[in-house]
Symmetry: C2
Subunit: 107 residues, 2 copies
């Protein structure tokens, strides 16, 4: 279980992948494998949450890192690169680096 909180000192990466529906499950598998085998062991990793869109056309990774420095170090890490290339070969992607402005729950 991952958590979203206002004011927590975490960098959120929302990466939106646009994919052909027949490749959606393959991309989901690549991102899960990347997160389990490699990302979770890197310094500053907090969580990766892989979502598939119901229309088959998108995959979204809602990921959390402790800091921008940790995220940037991951991008240069030789163990992470093959996973990122595998994902990039399957889909276009738009990474959005964010902070949480507010988290509103049901009362």
């Amino acid at each position: 279980m991952s958590t979203i909180e206002k004011g927590r000192d975490v960098l959120t990466l929302i990466n939106v992948f646009t994919v052909a529906p027949q490749k959606q499950q393959e991309l989901v598998n690549v991102l899960i494998e990347a997160s389990r085998a490699t990302m979770r062991h890197l310094p500053g990793f907090v969580s990766a949450n892989i979502h598939r869109s119901l229309d088959g056309k998108k995959v979204v990774n809602y990921a959390q890192w402790k800091s921008m420095a940790d995220f940037e170090a991951m991008q240069k890490n030789p163990e992470a690169m093959p996973h990122m290339k595998a994902a990039a070969a399957l889909a276009q992607f738009e990474p959005i680096l964010c902070e949480v402005s507010d988290a509103i729950k049901v009362e």
Copy 2:
């Protein structure tokens, strides 16, 4: 604090807004107000998590509803409509309806 979990019976709406940087904070405010004043009181609301991108160009609402029926009812709710129109007047948006394929946390 909101939570992301695999296998939980929840509909996830990831709504990506593209906004002029000078209007980003206004859009964040509109979405927070909509969630606090109206959405959280509607049937099936679970959470809304408003994110601002660090480059100023995006706002992302990571929202959870108990079911597709609850989400669709919200879209037709006369109390919700003015909030959605206010957001649409400030930005373009791309709603992505999802389910969680996996949630990976640091060990």
